[in-house]
Amino acid sequence: MGDNREITNFTALNSHRCVRMTRGGKIKTGADGKANLVIKITIIALLGLTIIGFLTFDYKDTNIFTAILDTFVNAGIMFGTPRLSHVSFSGAMEQLLVTFALATLATIFGAVIAFFASLLCAKNIANPIVANVVKSFVAFVRAVPTILWVFIIAMSSGLGSIAAVVGLTFHSAGYLTKAYAESIEEMNEGAIEALKTSGASFWQIVLQAIMPSSIRYMVAWTFLRFEINFANALAVGAAAGAGGIGFELWMAGNQYHDLRELGFLTYIIVIAAVLLEVIATKVKEKAG
């Protein structure tokens, strides 16, 4: 879960589309045949797959209506009467801090690895062969879901903070490499060319041209990734038992069957997530 928040940054890139333009800058008029056809086919295919899905799912003869009604009652208990009973408030806050710290470590490692990896795979500064190799490798790393990385590391190192941090780092590094490389690729070619012709070394180009122009995007992406990592650290704690407040959630829900505790922990998490978003926005504004 969690990868969701990256969406915010996407939107900015896709704005001003009311007037469709060709590559040459001419305004497109009339029906854009191919695009419209592909949109139609995509919609029909997705609807078809959805129907096939609903027809083939194994519902295990659950009475859906009773289950939905029960869920409403349960949600009422959970959100209406939150209360901690198996874990103390200070214990819950401590676990929240652990989740934060896991996310922080994964973000820092991911950012450092991604910084160097992105220098190897940004089209405008890297060797094309190296760039392709690194990009394919990164695509593979990103394709394995975080939770599977955590389990894979846990097989050899045991379940604990190492498995959680290293597992979270894999996907973070893959994700940030792509984001950083894109922000480097977006920068002005002229600056790099000018430094190259004046005889600047690779690291001088990186420090004097790339870093200053891309650092804002990099900071923004890193914060976004931190928010994702917070959600992922929660999920990993719940599904893999890797500690933190996610594990407490799982204990409350699956072991103690205590809806009220689940509710209280949820409130703690939501407040923390909202605070995080506010802080991230502030920092991004400052960096911008």
Binding site: M1, D3, N4, I7, T11, N14, R17, C18, K34, A35, I39, T42, L46, L47, L49, G53, F57, D58, T62, I64, A67, D70, N74, L97, V98, F100, A101, T104, L105, I108, F140, A143, V144, P145, F151, I152, I153, M155, S156, S157, G160, S161, I162, A164, V165, V166, V219, L234, A235, A238, A239, G246, L249, W250, G253, N254, L259, L262, T266, V270
Partner: protein, 273 residues
């Protein structure tokens, strides 16, 4: 070199851009180190152990994470569960996209009934977005037990909250001028939606839906471990049995699925955007 520049800067009576830049980088660097140390302390994380875990995991994976004779017969079972997870993520995304589209129309600046409704829509979207899907899954497990529907609704709520906000932003950004123009000609709301909003923002909305399908496949694997369905359940099963050959096949299947979905959506995006 830097000293020289500082001098020039001081002559001008203000800080040089290079000094400022150097200070920013130092600040970022120091705060990284401080955060790293603090977090290591809180989580008992051992940096050396962390680095050593990589070669260990690598060697272990090469030795054990290899399909063997007993794991090949499991391919049909893995395939069935992979298809279930893939269909689940498509179904969830499509259902929440349809709901989110109509719901987001109430929240857009251009179409909303009135500012109060618009505000309410955003708050409801924020509610669904900020509660993690694992919380929904744990709540739904109480009534639905280990059933594909608990996964479905958990992912549905999270996706719905997210897509509602995204759709509001997209429609406001892309269609505002078309909508205004259509309203000015006296078009009805239905006409505005069908002639203004859908044609102008459909490509972007589809792009978001494709993106959410990718994300939801990953999420469905995780939720499946909790709700006992799909490829996540199968992974958990083989993992707990220590059937590493089968585990490797499951990982491979998930990787192939995600890469295929990514490739298809990249191709579609290339044409429609």
């Amino acid at each position: 070199m830097f000293g020289n520049r500082t001098k020039t800067a001081k002559l001008n009576g203000r800080e040089s851009v290079f000094v400022k830049r150097k200070r920013t980088f130092t600040l970022i660097f120091v705060s990284f180190i401080a955060l790293f140390l603090l977090s290591s302390l809180i989580t008992d994380y051992n940096a050396i152990g962390g680095f050593l875990s990589l070669p260990k995991a690598f060697v272990w994976s090469i030795k054990n994470l290899v399909p063997n004779a007993t794991s090949w017969p499991r391919v049909p079972l893995i395939f069935d569960n992979l298809v279930e997870t893939a269909l689940l993520s498509v179904a969830v995304t499509v259902c929440s996209a349809v709901c989110a589209f109509f719901f987001s129309l109430l929240g857009t600046r251009t179409m909303r009934v009135n500012p109060v409704v618009g505000r309410a829509v955003r708050i409801i979207a924020a509610f669904f977005r900020n509660i993690p899907d694992i919380v929904w899954a744990l709540l739904l497990l109480f009534a639905f037990h280990q059933n594909i529907l608990s996964g479905f609704f958990a992912l549905f709520f999270a996706t719905f909250g997210l897509l509602t906000r995204t759709f509001i932003e997209t429609i406001d950004e892309i269609s505002a001028s078309c909508v205004e123009a259509l309203h000015a000609t006296g078009a009805t709301n239905l006409q505005v939606v069908s002639q203004g909003i859908i044609p102008s923002s459909m490509a972007t909305l589809i792009s978001w839906i494709l993106y959410m399908i990718e994300t939801n496949v990953r999420n469905a694997v995780l939720i499946g471990i909790l709700t006992g369905t799909g490829i996540g359940w199968l992974f958990d099963l083989f993992y707990k049995r220590g059937d590493w050959g089968a585990v490797s096949l499951v990982v491979l299947a998930v990787v192939i699925l995600i890469i295929v979905i990514e490739m298809i959506s990249t191709q579609i995006r290339k044409v429609i955007m």
